[in-house]
């Protein structure tokens, strides 16, 4: 029964794929059709990228883009499978921190020869930082992400909490704990914080690695990225994650948020989440919505960064034409159209200046400050990242359920180190040109 269903689904999917592959302009035979894979994203984002590809293809150029959207749930697995079958497209979009692994595997072309000085200077430093590995630039994003706390202003004013004006005056972890305690006293069920525990996968690493960094610890020793032992399971990491564990525990103050409605339904006062929730939250809260930096666990607030990036694969048949598409995507109009749809931070300074939400005084200006002033940190720039994030996700899931933080982190660090040993330190590989 189930296999019949599976075959039917596969067949429908194949039909749908065939339909998509119909060339839009069969007359133009001399035009090179560059394959581009991107993540499907939310509907608003999807519509924008599809429209932008159509608009790009209307220009009389020597190459067109043929876009294929893939669901992001198992995106890396799909890329790995395609690489194995030698079926990677010309242009590939991927989640930022995976770039280092793809470079190590030899799938990407360095971009610096194709990026104009003008564009390079216009990009936010965080975009360059994310895409740079071993001294070369490998990827570019149309937007960067923002991670902070959303708050209900009225609830925070009721307990007379100090509201940090910027990252330099972020709540200390003790102050944050006090805010939570006072909020809980005003709250019917005592659950006042939303950590998006309903999310899965990369969220744990994206959202809670900043806790480690802020505490002076991390996922791995930087910048060498040789060993997690001592960094991931050091005393600073243990203390910081014990705090987070205490918020979540039985007598804690975190809403499990199964229905993803905790903040919008005013069940909690604070929501630890990224830019993608802005539209929904702003609609529900209006002027009551606040954006607050993450608490400082010892060495100043630190937040996450990085989002989906574009790169050129080694199979790219015309890197210059592909780069023209990326430049087109990075023009102000295109960047702004996308960030209006997903509320991420525009990747270029000129687009930020034209975005009412993001420029000085805008509701999301904090994100720009975090990225531009160095409060945000890219996830570890190492080919070990895919395994590292999988191990950390498991570890966070364990400590979320009350496991002993120290032994969970010991095990995670050992597992990451074993993977690095298994891969002979992930040293750069000399790879022949295809």
């Amino acid at each position: 029964m189930r296999s019949a269903l599976f075959i039917l689904t596969a067949w429908c999917a194949a039909l749908a794929a065939c339909k998509q592959e119909q060339p839009q302009n069969p007359a133009a035979e001399s035009v090179l059709r560059l394959q581009a894979w991107a993540h499907a994203g939310r509907e608003a984002e999807r519509r924008v990228i599809e429209r932008q590809v159509r608009a790009f293809n209307r220009q009389p150029l020597t190459a067109d883009i043929e876009l294929t959207l893939l669901p992001e749930g198992e995106y890396n697995a799909q890329v790995q499978a395609a690489a194995l079958a030698d079926g990677l497209p010309d242009l590939l979009e991927f989640d930022g921190p995976f770039v280092y692994n793809y470079v190590w595997q030899g799938h990407l072309l360095p971009l610096e020869d194709y990026v104009s000085q003008e564009l390079r200077e216009n990009l936010l430093p965080s975009i360059i930082a994310q895409g740079t590995y071993r001294g070369r630039l490998w990827s570019l994003g149309q937007y960067d992400s923002g991670l902070a706390l959303f708050g209900h202003r009225s609830m925070l004013e009721r307990i007379a909490a100090r509201i940090p004006a910027g990252p330099d005056t972020a709540w200390t972890a003790d102050e944050f704990a006090e805010v939570l305690r006072r909020l809980a006293r005003q709250d019917a069920d005592g659950q006042v914080l939303d950590l998006k525990l309903n999310y899965r996968g990369e969220w744990y690493t994206y959202a809670f690695a900043p806790v480690l960094w802020s505490a002076g610890a991390g996922l791995i020793d930087r910048p060498g990225c040789r060993s997690a032992t001592g960094t991931l399971n050091g005393p600073a990491a243990i203390a910081a994650l014990q705090r987070v564990q205490a918020w979540i525990g039985r007598r804690g103050c975190v809403d499990p948020n199964v229905d993803d409605y905790a903040f919008v339904g005013r069940r909690v006062a604070l929501s630890w989440v990224g830019h993608w929730e802005y539209a929904r939250y702003a609609e529900a809260c209006g002027d009551d919505l606040l954006l607050i930096p993450l608490p400082d666990f010892g060495t100043g607030t630190v937040t996450g960064q990085g989002s989906w990036n574009w790169g050129l694969t080694r199979r790219c048949r015309d890197p210059r034409a592909a780069m023209r598409f990326l430049e087109y995507l990075l023009a102000d109009e295109q960047v702004l159209e996308m960030t209006r749809a997903n509320h991420a931070v525009p990747a270029t300074r000129s687009a930020v200046a034209r975005s009412a939400l993001h420029r000085e005084g805008g509701a999301l200006h904090l994100y720009v400050r975090q990225l531009a002033e160095g409060w945000a940190r890219p996830r570890p720039q190492t080919p070990a990242y895919p395994v590292m994030t999988s191990v950390f996700q498991q570890a966070f899931d364990d400590l979320r359920h009350g496991a002993d933080v120290s032994s969970v982190l010991d095990r995670a660090a050992a597992e990451i180190d074993r993977d690095i040993r298994d891969n002979q330190g992930y040293l750069p590989q000399a790879r022949a040109e295809p």
């Binding site: 029964m1 189930r2 269903l5 198992e74 697995a77 790995q80 499978a81 690489a83 194995l84 692994n101 190590w104 595997q105 030899g106 899965r200 499990p256 199964v258 229905d259 895919p386 395994v387 999988s390 191990v391 899931d397 364990d398 979320r400 359920h401 009350g402 496991a403 993977d419 298994d422 891969n423 002979q424 590989q429 790879r431």
Partner: protein, 304 residues
Amino acid sequence: MKPVNRRRPRLRGEGVTAALFAAPALAGLLLFVAVPFGLALGLSLTNLRMGSPLQTRFVGWQQYARVLADPTFQRAMLNNALFAAVVVPVQTTLALLLALAVNQRLRGMVVFRALFFMPVVFPMALVALVWELIYAPGPNGPLNALLGLVTFGGVAPQDFLHDRLLALPAIMLMSIWQGVGFQMVVLLAGLQSIPNELYEAAATERAGRWSQFRHVTLPQLRNPLVFTALVTTVLAFRVFDQVQIMTRGGPLDATTTIMFEAVQAVFERQQVAQAAAMTVVFFFLVLMVTLVQRAAVRQEREVA
């Protein structure tokens, strides 16, 4: 026509025909079961990682040593065993009771049969999502609300899928609910093929309802029961979808299974060789359980 000795040629012809008829199935078996298993066996002795530019090396039994020493994998094996030990008897018994119930010749029984069978038709992914909502924590979660109602608030609201003791039973409960309809239909077919004369004969010998069930129904149902128990065992060992969707093996490995760990290894961490070793271990476990089961309860020859 002259009658000749056609015995041998005809047999040979039959042999060819038989081989021809069996060929598609055998080819499929070879191509989709034997070859991949051989590959898995071979891969499990290497250090192959998907996409790695490093040379693949032969590492002998290292993957097996790692897998078997990994506490998470040990827990996965235990969970698989627990799951099968509870689900197989409970689900088979429940299926038998349901089959007996819907075997009554009453008006509208078709509706009940359809209702009990319906969960089997739904994809597991859908069922898992619905049950995730049913298990929602807090007093407003449907199951919590129901428990509170029937016990007059005697049971405090539980977070079923995030409780170390309740998570696996919760997965078992929804799996039984989803799978019981299939066994019910098999057993129902078995029930309906029992000749009525047997019951009439038993009745004339003044056998009561229980006695009839004990000495007519159960022996006649032997083959369908053995079949459903076997199939349920194999399906129980394969449990994956529910875990992937509802708990991702958590909390603290309380619901992880061998299949889930293998999928995690290969698709999250690209450790193909390690996942291959897990599936080989899995194969031998299922093989052992099946052999033991076959030895314990043989199907009678006529149907086998």
